[in-house]
């Protein structure tokens, strides 16, 4: 067990170094964005004098390296500074948005992960049957369509034509949890449709791959029923690739949902990032990117640790 803790610590250390490198890249990439924030804030009617006044007020007249160091020292303590456009604290601005995004991702994952793993096991069991074909065609169709298109299809049939669910997922503070689940059902369903195929097919492939192994042959020969062969013998060895693909899709649910947020007017972090880029609001852009990077690193770390834990050979290296 000590090995595992050491490994996690090592991975975390690596993650931090990667994060530092990413922070440098993010900061200087954002610097490279064309355009001028003061111009964006003041619009068409701006005169050179008030542009200069605003730039000075925002501290844009200082060199980039100085601003980076200042920003980094704050970011370490989760203080991402203030938005240059609104003056409000960045942590406050995006905190609630990020919580909304996490909620939607968790909601979608809670539906998608069990469904895709169960489906994956089932289609592996019934491979090459009609059920297998139908499940594959359906999930491949949904993954091949762009999210916004799936969203509009769902809106058309479940909101406009039947009125079963609201078309826009607007949230207010006094909502009950049930109401919240109901209001955000359509965006969650869209995300489920987008990520299910990947996880299901990976589960199927991993299991089928193992079914050719001698030990499965052995299990079959001793008369174990087919479902038990898969659940008891194949699945435990298939966890590693499945965990990896689940982690990848979870990261996607958090960082890649901008289109879904736009279609359903869901107040998540993706929309905040797009708004911030269009306004050249550097601190917000940087904080969002850093959060996304950290999400990816943490989920990858979790996937690594997870696959090690489920694999005795990796757990007890020679």
């Amino acid at each position: 067990m000590g090995d595992i803790l050491g490994l996690v610590a090592k991975r975390l250390g690596m993650g931090l170094i990667i994060l530092l490198v990413i922070s440098i890249i993010i900061f200087f990439m954002v610097e490279l964005l064309p355009g001028d924030i003061a111009q964006a804030v003041l619009g068409q009617g701006a005169t050179p004098e008030n542009l200069a006044a605003l730039r000075k007020e925002m501290g844009l007249d200082q060199p980039a390296v100085l601003r980076y160091l200042h920003w980094l020292s704050g970011a370490v303590t989760l203080d991402f500074g203030n938005s240059i456009v609104t003056g409000a604290s960045v942590a406050q601005t995006i905190g609630e948005r990020f919580a909304n995004t996490l909620f939607l991702a968790a909601y979608a994952a809670a539906i998608a992960v069990p469904i895709s793993i169960v489906l994956g096991v089932l289609v592996a069991l019934l491979r090459n049957s009609i059920f297998d074909r139908v499940a594959n065609v359906a999930t491949l169709t949904s993954i091949s369509s762009p999210e916004f298109f799936l969203g509009y299809i769902l809106i058309l049939y479940l909101a406009v034509k039947t009125g079963m669910f609201p078309a826009i997922a607007s949230l207010s503070n006094d909502m009950s949890f049930g109401d919240l689940l109901y209001r955000t059902f359509l965006p969650a369903l869209t995300l489920v449709l987008v990520v299910t195929a990947h996880m299901m097919r990976m589960t199927r492939a991993a299991i089928i791959n193992l079914l050719a192994s001698p030990y499965i042959e052995m299990a079959r020969l001793k008369g174990t029923p087919p479902w038990k062969v898969i659940v008891k013998h194949a699945l435990p060895n298939a966890w590693a690739p499945i965990i990896n693909v689940v982690a990848l899709n979870l990261a996607y649910l958090i960082t890649g949902v901008v289109l879904v947020e736009v279609v359903f007017v869901y107040p998540g972090i993706g929309q905040a990032l797009v708004d911030a880029v269009s306004k050249r609001d550097f601190p917000v852009v940087q904080a969002c990117c850093l959060i996304f990077a950290a999400t990816f690193i943490l989920l990858n770390l979790a996937a690594d640790v997870g696959s090690i834990l489920t694999n005795p050979r990796l757990r007890h290296p020679k």
Partner: protein, 536 residues
């Protein structure tokens, strides 16, 4: 004899009130002119007016163009969403009435010195902020000064450059002194930046708290997402029939439309023109298609061959079939232009100038006269100018062929169009937002020495009239001057003005409005929340 005239006038007034052709304020004004007392006139209005608003309900308003990085700072208002919110929770000194005339908001009356260099505004003594604090001259002074001075970051600074001082004369009188006479100052006060905020007492204003003097006060909200507002009981104006207003930011056109169709909102602030015809077929939805002051122009450089010949300019203006362009490019959501930059919904619009129609034959003969038969010109345009701008130019090029003109449409990149193409290429397409008065518009883009004189037009008489009209307080004289200026623009100027684009917004079931709506912004001059109501 007098009595009979009065009766005729009254009948006509009552008729106008019934059909909604005049606002309540104009009605009261004319009724007073006809010798009726105010209380009698109020009663008459009540029995004549077409619509009887009923109070109550929560108005759910889906608005476009909202951004997370918006702020309550009136100097940096830029998105449409903030303009709608500003007119809902804040007030201005003056406002644009539903009939597009100038009316009182926080100021009950205003008066100019004979040279128009000093304006005195009397404030409404009953006006109060949402915090309960009464509105005083100091609040107005600091709110205006927020847009003045070297350190100001306001985008509306340019409108107040002539202001030399803003002073108080008692608690409820504000005096604005100008370096040059400006008869339009009360009109400028309707600009969406000049919202009145509470003074901090040290010369600055408290804009951060979101406190205001408008019909609704903010309960909660988040920039770029949503706002919850409740009626401000101490509001000084008329209207504000809804109990509550919820403003939802819906930037995606499809989301907006779906929300309206499914009844998730009661009104949306912008409709995509492509689906306009489909939406109009829905019996539960009323679409409003209202002319605006925003325009599409096609400036030609008056100092560059071949546009330096006025006959060539006129021929190009005659070679456009505006009706077809409005029908096919703007889907009917536009108002025909007449080659002068003043829209029918703006003050001093000269109604008796004949419309310029499509006349390829006359264009041909003008070109022949100018020795420019078979004229060939390049027209620069980018997609970002207007939805369908490139198509518009291609259609125009087809129409101009009938006059023997060969227009080559040059598609420029959208990025940097206004820095690399506009004011640089001799013939291009441009989109202009509305300006409050002809003086502001003409000074900005038609005056001989203006930085944005996009046609490089130098007309001595026009520039002379422009300066004269600015400080002329006699309305009749002033209207005549703008009439002449418009004629000069139309017949000598270098601007081909295809159309003014309309505001297109839609209301769901049960949302009622008066017959007339203000055209300064979409949704009844951005005042839908205080002017509309739910059907009982």
């Amino acid at each position: 004899m007098k009595k009979k005239t009065d009766q005729v006038l009254l009948d006509r007034l009552a008729q106008a009130a019934r059909t909604g052709d005049i606002s309540r304020r104009s009605f009261m004004h004319f009724a007073a002119a006809a010798g009726i007392t105010a209380s009698a006139a109020t009663g008459l209005w009540g029995t004549s007016a077409a619509a009887n608003p009923t109070p109550g309900g929560t108005f759910r308003w889906g608005v476009h163009d909202g951004n997370t990085s918006d702020t309550h700072d009136p100097g940096t208002y830029v998105t449409r969403q903030m303009i709608f919110l500003a007119h809902t929770h804040r007030s201005y000194l003056t406002l644009i009435e539903a009939d597009n005339s100038l009316g009182p908001d926080l100021a009950t009356s205003w008066e100019a010195s004979p040279d128009a260099m000093q304006w005195t505004f009397e404030l409404n003594p009953d006006a109060s902020f949402h915090s309960g604090k009464p509105v005083t001259a100091q609040d107005v002074i600091d709110s205006l000064n927020h847009h003045r001075g070297d350190s100001s970051t306001s985008a509306a600074k340019a409108l107040l450059t002539d202001v030399t001082d803003v002073t108080a004369d008692g608690d409820h009188t504000v005096v604005v002194s100008l370096a040059r006479g400006n008869a339009d100052l009360p009109w400028l006060m309707t600009d969406y930046h000049f919202a009145i905020c509470p003074s901090n007492g040290d010369g600055t204003i408290d804009w951060k708290s979101g406190d205001g003097t408008g019909p609704y006060k903010i309960d909660s909200g988040e920039f770029g997402i949503r706002w919850e507002l409740t009626r401000h009981d101490g509001w000084h104006g008329e209207g504000a029939y809804f109990d509550k207003v919820t403003m939802l930011v819906l930037n995606d056109p499809n989301a907006r439309q779906t929300a309206l169709v499914t009844g998730d909102v009661d009104c949306v602030s912008l409709i995509e023109l492509k689906t306009l015809a489909l939406l109009q077929r829905n019996p539960d939805i009323s679409v409003d298609n209202i002319p605006s002051g925003g325009a599409i122009t096609m400036p030609m450089f008056c100092d560059t061959e071949p546009f330096s010949d006025v006959r060539v300019r006129t021929a190009l203006k005659l070679a456009m079939n505006r009706d077809e362009i409005i029908e096919k490019i703007a889907f009917g959501a536009a108002t025909k232009g007449n080659d002068f930059h003043l829209s029918p919904v703006q003050p001093y619009w000269p109604e008796d100038i004949p419309q310029r129609e499509y006349d390829p034959d006359q264009a041909k003969s003008l070109l022949k006269e100018a020795g420019q038969e078979g004229l060939s010109v390049n027209l620069s345009v980018a997609d970002s100018v207007y939805t369908g701008a490139v198509d518009m130019c291609v259609l125009y090029a087809e129409q101009a062929k009938a006059a023997g003109i060969n227009i080559k449409v040059v598609r420029e990149p959208s990025d940097g169009y206004y820095s690399d193409v506009w004011l640089k290429k001799p013939f291009s397409a441009v989109s202009w937002g509305a300006r409050p008065t002809p003086d502001v518009m003409f000074t900005l883009a038609y005056k001989d020495d203006a930085a944005w004189n996009e046609t490089r037009w130098q007309n001595e008489r026009f520039n002379e009239l422009l300066l004269q009209a600015k400080s002329e307080l006699d309305e009749t004289l002033r209207a005549e001057m703008y009439h002449e200026m418009c004629l000069l623009m139309r017949d000598d100027g270098g601007t081909l003005l295809p159309f003014f684009n309309n505001w297109v917004y839609a209301r769901g079931k049960g949302v009622k409005r008066h017959e007339q709506v203000a055209a300064s912004w979409g949704c009844d001059g951005a005042r839908a929340a205080s002017r509309w109501w739910f059907e009982a």
